[in-house]
Symmetry: C2
Subunit: 372 residues, 2 copies
């Protein structure tokens, strides 16, 4: 068996696609990679709907679900959305309203969402149960140590559990927790990340696994945008790669065309690791959004307050950006890693997988030359 991941999760090519978009997940799996749907902000009913759609569009190919989300973890048990909203200081709400007003957008169109939303206590567990009613081949845990009930559920259903880590110390906790696959993401990656770079983190985590006498495959994440890098990571000992940003510049993605154009134009220096979206450090495309917050001198709110405040505003900016609002185009942003500097064009997810395969072979040939 050429790839260990083929054995564990059934994909032909160990290219994992993390995406919030079901179209990307299905397209990647169909093309031979492995799509993982990020179930962030889904209710169990919504997840059921998404997974049913994927089942109908994935041609029987394997896929996975990423079920635990930072916001959920950060919410105390039994706290309602209305209670969270009540904790946002007035000057922060005034500030985000001023951003919208100055961009000519109705400032009351993007208020934090409260109302009927129920407490999140058992959401992760419910999402897991929904997932196991579908032919998922991988469960991933996005932040923090995989909880014992997740490990137990994975074992019961015979489905590997993967966990994301950004530092060797976190990997050691995941090894102890009993995860089956570790996704080691360097600080150059998009979204929540640490500050250890991928090229150091991968060998450091592999060494920690060896030192623990464990045998857990590692997927390399953070900055990986093409098959040559994938070949490089696998030469270093990774069992495959886990990518997020590269799918955002595809025609299937949840991103809008203005953001995709910003991705094509960006270099690797156009991202920022900032707390001004979720309250924890996450890497995003640098935009007027970050500049405005820095100028205002307001420290980021803790998680989950910061997301509850900022997400409706950022979605309003996205909408206005698509409708041609120049200020909104300048302000809009999204999570993306430094690999954005390698994006040359917007293409389809299937074509990205195909190009990865060709470049993976080219990477192998680059190295083979040394032995000719």
């Amino acid at each position: 068996m050429p790839f260990r991941m083929t054995e564990m999760v059934g994909c032909d090519f160990p290219l994992f696609a993390f995406s919030h978009c079901r179209d990307v997940v299905a397209a990647v799996s169909r093309a031979g990679g492995f799509g993982v749907i990020g179930a962030v902000s889904y209710t169990p009913e919504q997840l059921e709907h998404e997974l049913a759609w994927i089942d109908d569009h994935v041609d029987g190919k394997p896929y996975g679900v990423d079920v635990l989300i930072p916001e959920v973890q950060a919410v105390d048990k039994g706290v309602t959305a209305d209670e969270i909203i009540a904790n946002i200081p007035a000057k922060y709400r005034d500030f985000t309203r001023s951003i919208l007003r100055e961009a000519g957008i109705g400032e009351d169109t993007a208020e934090p969402q409260g109302g009927s939303q129920r407490p999140n206590t058992s959401l992760g567990q419910e999402l897991l149960e929904v997932s196991f009613n579908h032919p998922v081949r991988l469960i991933a845990n996005a932040l923090g140590t995989a909880p014992p009930e997740m490990i137990a559920a994975g074992k019961k259903h015979g489905i590997p559990v993967a966990a994301l880590v950004g530092a060797k110390e976190h990997a050691m906790k995941q090894i102890d927790a009993g995860v089956d696959i570790i996704v080691a993401q360097g600080g150059e990656g998009g979204g929540h990340c640490g500050d250890v770079a991928t090229v150091v983190l991968i060998p450091e985590v592999l060494q920690a696994i060896e030192d623990a006498g464990a045998d857990i495959p590692v997927l390399a994440a953070g900055g990986i945008m093409n098959g040559r890098q994938m070949a490089g990571m696998m030469a270093m000992g990774a069992a495959g790669v886990w990518c997020g940003s590269v799918w955002l510049a595809t025609t299937e993605a949840e991103t809008h065309e203005v953001f995709r154009e910003k991705m094509v134009a960006a270099t690797s220096r156009d991202t920022v690791r900032s707390k001004y979206r979720t309250g924890k450090y996450s890497r995003q495309l640098r935009s007027g959004w970050h500049a405005r917050w820095e100028e205002a001198g307001l420290p980021a709110l803790p998680m989950p307050l910061m997301s509850v405040l900022s997400e409706p505003v950022l979605r309003a900016l996205d909408k206005a950006a698509v409708n041609g609002n120049r200020q909104a185009q300048e302000l809009c942003s999204y999570w993306v890693g430094q690999g954005v500097g390698l994006v040359r064009e917007v293409t389809s997810s299937g074509q990205v997988v195909q190009q990865f395969k060709e470049d993976f072979l080219a990477g192998y040939e680059n190295l083979s030359q040394a032995f000719e």
Copy 2:
């Protein structure tokens, strides 16, 4: 020819060792790698002496010289050391004296060095001339765009000129300047660095070279500590690797045993990209030195003032650390990259090269498995 660098600079194995220590340079070249002596702070007479020593100890193997140094570039033409010292604010000198006093070290033993030191105007050019009187096979330019006189001198002597870059934009300037080799160093590397990670920077620079219609080999730097990573970088398209930190944990290095022990104990999260040494961002082992400056709330002085103030103090701390002073051991630091987390033991430079060769083969085998 298996390696392009063999053709260009005559080494068997494209592992470049940047070191301020002649012993490391000679040992690496003898073992089949390529040593590059960092001529930082050397006078032409000192460089002549070092190169003569290397010639006597390198067994005819090729080596190179890194001649331009940040401090030199930052000094205005004709400014003397005494004039530089006069610009250091009194409260900064009081602060560094207080660090020494509290560590029980004579506070007047580490004053900025002035006196007979002459202006640095033409130092780089003089160092170049000294170098060309020796059988050097590479001239490297550590910071900023390689000046036309360096390119011209390289061409005249038939010696390739390499330049370090930390961003695609800098690489484009070096391509225009006509350098022969680009060393692309990610922000995880030790010393002066940008913030783009190696795994993104290498493909981004390779793409910029291709877009420019140029044919310039790229050496990958930043976080590279072993042969598996080297194989990974070469799969990505690099022509070899350029390492600094890995040599600091060798028996030949200029580092002292206390610092080497700190390297072995450190993880990748124990470095900091800080201005509190040279005045520009450089990555160092995080120590009490950085904590003290951060607590004091004094912004770093500009280059070269910061180095002129801090280097004598840091050398006094090194000396006291070696003599068993606990506070000095806690305060001492040196430039090192995140790769410090991969250092497991102190060994010889020759053994490091040998281990790189074995791991390079292992990296190739890791990747080959995918094609079996």
